[in-house]
């Protein structure tokens, strides 16, 4: 009995010792020397692994940052959209470098084709993904450029910064939560969502339409479409507006937020966000109802609940709905 025990102990012990020796040499031979700075940088990052920086995850971003810092001594072209300038500053400090502040950005939805403005002409019964619907047809409203309202962008958002508005059928960005990671921009099969600079006091002006059809055709499907009339283009004192394929585009870098173009637009396709109300009354065109509602939602937190909270509730309800559709 004892003999068996002793043999077992000795043989196992011997295997252990031999394995330890082998492992010792293997570990020496295949040792990977990793810059300890990578760990330091990774620690500072938000660990969201959203991919907004263009790398697969925070670790890859940290590796790239450290190697760039080592090689060129600067952090040009690197930006963590989630952490923003604050985090980039901390990283630069940790690496003993200086960082240029980049303008913070936010996602904007460039379509206002709500149920009210672009009524449904056909009924879509297929699976609730924008990508399939986009490949299948021009959509329920008939606008081949407009939002399909099936929420690929909302599902792609990892920061609870988007929800589908049930009344308009359009996605809404919750600016507080948006980190400009660009996931929704990639998810949208029609390139409706764009990242734009937040701007002073988060005020922004943009054309809420990407329809490149001729005016009449665009207007047929949606009453708030850009019809390419060039009125805004002519009135802009800063050359911030360019016309391309019957579509106006406002360059956010050149735009000085003078708001001259907004009342010019005959279809109310140009949006102003987070501006105080105008002093003089423009009795020509009262702003559209649902546009106002959407602005208000984005603009100010109510006393009772913050927009984040409202949005969260909507989001949960939405998720539940989507689940119903999918299952």
């Amino acid at each position: 009995m004892n003999e068996v025990l002793i043999i077992a102990v000795i043989s196992l012990g011997a295997i252990g010792v031999i394995a330890a020796i082998v492992l010792f040499f293997v570990a020496r031979k295949f040792k990977v020397i990793e810059d300890p700075k990578i760990d330091v940088v990774e620690e500072k990052l938000p660990a969201a692994n959203c991919g907004g920086c263009g790398f697969a995850g925070c670790r890859n971003f940290a590796e790239a940052v450290v190697s760039k810092a080592k090689k060129e001594g600067n952090l040009e072209g690197f930006n963590c959209p989630v952490g923003g300038n604050e985090v980039m500053g901390i990283i630069a400090e940790a690496l003993g470098l200086e960082v240029e502040e980049s303008e913070p950005q936010v996602a904007v939805v460039r379509c206002n084709g709500s149920y009210q403005h672009a009524p449904k002409k056909i009924k879509y019964e297929g699976p609730a993904t924008c990508e399939f619907a986009h490949n299948l047809s021009s959509g329920e409203s008939g606008c081949p450029y407009g939002c399909l309202g099936l929420g690929d962008c909302v599902r792609s958002c990892q920061f609870d910064a988007m929800y589908m508005d049930k009344e308009t059928g359009l996605p809404v960005v919750i600016e507080e939560n948006c980190v400009a990671c660009g996931a929704c921009v990639k998810a949208c099969p029609r390139d409706i969502i764009e990242l734009r600079n937040v701007g002073k006091k988060s005020r922004r002006i943009f054309v809420s339409c990407i329809n490149e059809e001729k005016g009449g055709l665009a207007k047929k499907n949606c009453e708030v479409a850009c019809i390419g009339c060039q009125k805004c283009f002519k009135v802009c004192p800063f050359d911030a507006i360019t016309m391309n394929n019957n579509l106006a585009y406002i360059d956010y870098e050149k735009c000085k937020l003078c708001r001259k173009c907004v009342p010019e637009c005959p279809t109310n396709a140009i949006w102003e966000l987070n501006f105080p109300p105008r002093k003089e009354k423009s009795d020509k065109k009262p702003p559209l109802k649902d546009k106002e509602a959407r602005e208000a939602e984005q603009k100010k937190p109510t006393e009772k609940a913050s927009p984040g909270k409202i949005a969260k509730e909507k989001l949960d309800a939405d998720k539940k709905d989507n689940k119903d559709i999918i299952n």
């Binding site: 002409k121 056909i122 019964e125 297929g126 699976p127 993904t129 990508e131 399939f132 490949n135 299948l136 047809s137 021009s138 959509g139 008939g142 081949p144 059809e213 055709l217 559709i325 999918i326 299952n327």
Partner: protein, 443 residues
């Protein structure tokens, strides 16, 4: 009775217009001819606004290898070269012509006389088919001349003529076989000569006994052509299914039928080839079935390409009141139209009107794992798995599961007791995997 082995369904046939003779449809006032009506590269317009055109005049040139010419279907003045809505609702370039009289190009032989003798050589036949813009009229609109150019190292052994018409409701091929049988047989002979084969088989489903009898009788005068009756089963009209049913050969995954020595052409194509080669007539009209349970007099019309669908519906007495859906093609593979302004193109085999009740999908329920979709898949795929992987965006696994082999027949969705949109997800997978494959071959 011969048929393909694995999978297949048998939907209600509803061939309402099977005994209605083909009638030419009255000319439209304005036609919208899309300049790209075929698979492959888009064609380029060669007319401009204000040009006078005749019936059969070339209006768009397809210069790439896989592309086809487009000819004017009417005579008159080009109103403009613009865009027109297609079946998906997107706008595609088109030539819009205001119709005036009906003046044909002089080179076209308008006589009804049967021209049996084939006086052209193999190369001349291929050239002629290319010039006349003939594409596969079964629905996929693959340019026909490309099919006749057998790649080096391959040998065509047998030509299959597809008279299956397995889609419910549609009867355009059936009527063509009844009324233009001789022409189809001569067209088949021409295709045989173009391919250099001495054997052709016309496959017809058993629900058209009159057509089988009629063609079998006429075949006796034509060497090498036989008629094969087939058991009624959808999707027997699919190229690969027809080859399996008639010859017992199986086209390998991702390969073309020529791999097993077969070339498949539709009866409509055979007729168009006859007209192109013997009568010098480009492809500018085709037979379109207009049908539906709500229509009192379903019809088979001979329609000029570019005629708006609304005129076809008008010709059968207007849109019935409770129409829920207008489908271009058959009920299984057809596409719901977004508007009545969509023009008839070379690939339009039928216009089908569904009533409100028929036009909605069954309510969506959870998958019960009954594997019926796997049983009916004619390509031996697992639709439920493909749809799930595609839903979860696992494109590499979707590709491994042979998604590109799917012929989009819709049998899986048709048979699913839970009404799951299997084909929709598989199409999404096909689209994405196709993109990935193209990118890979670029790099």
């Amino acid at each position: 009775m011969k048929t393909f082995k694995s999978g297949g369904v048998h939907p209600a046939e509803n061939k309402l217009s099977a005994n209605v003779a083909i009638q030419p449809l009255q000319l439209s006032k304005r036609v919208f001819i899309p300049i790209s009506q075929n698979l492959g590269a888009p064609s380029q317009p060669v007319v401009k606004k204000g040009d006078e055109v005749k019936v059969g005049q070339l209006i768009a040139k397809g210069e790439a290898f896989i592309s086809a010419h487009v000819h004017s279907s009417v005579s008159g003045k080009v109103f403009k070269v613009d865009e027109v809505i297609d079946s998906s609702g997107y706008r595609r370039p088109a030539v819009i012509i205001d119709v005036k009289d009906d003046e044909w190009e002089e080179s076209i032989d308008k006589s009804e006389e049967l021209k049996k003798e084939i006086s052209f050589s193999k190369d001349e036949i291929v050239k002629k088919i290319n010039e006349m813009g003939i594409v596969g009229l079964g629905g996929a609109t693959f340019p026909s001349h490309v099919k006749l150019m057998v790649p080096e190292g391959k040998k065509a052994e047998v030509l299959l003529i597809n008279g299956v018409e397995c889609e419910p409701y549609l009867t355009s091929d059936h009527r063509l076989m009844m009324e233009k049988a001789e022409e189809i047989l001569i067209g088949t002979k021409i295709l045989m000569k173009g391919l250099g084969v001495d054997k052709a088989v016309i496959g017809i489903e058993n629900n058209k006994p009159d057509a089988i009898e009629h063609l079998a009788q006429l075949c006796q005068n034509y060497d090498g052509i036989t008629v094969q009756a087939l058991k009624v089963k959808y999707p027997q009209g699919g190229e690969k299914q027809l080859i399996k049913a008639v010859t017992g050969r199986e086209v390998p995954s991702g390969k073309l039928p020529i791999e097993v020595g077969c070339v498949v052409n539709n009866v409509g194509t055979a007729f168009a080839v006859y007209e192109a080669v013997q009568k010098n007539k480009p492809l500018f009209e085709r037979v379109v079935t207009v049908t539906g349970k709500n229509i009192h007099n379903p019809q088979n019309f001979l329609v000029r390409i570019g005629t708006p669908v609304s005129e076809l519906i008008e010709a059968v007495g207007g849109l019935p009141e409770d129409t829920g859906k207008i489908v271009s093609g058959g009920p299984m593979m057809g596409k719901a139209l977004i508007s009545q302004d969509v023009p008839v193109v070379k690939g339009t085999s039928g216009i089908l009107l569904f009533n409100e009740q028929e036009s909605h999908r069954a309510p969506l329920k959870a998958c019960i794992r009954c594997a019926k979709c796997i049983q009916v898949c004619p390509m031996g795929l697992e639709p439920v798995l493909l749809a799930q992987l595609s839903d979860h965006q696992k494109w590499d696994e979707v590709e491994k599961e042979r998604v590109m082999d799917c012929i989009e027949c819709g049998s899986c969705h048709y048979t699913c007791p839970s009404g799951r949109p299997l084909l929709d997800y598989i199409r999404l997978g096909k689209f994405r995997v196709g993109q990935i494959i193209r990118n890979r071959s670029k790099n």
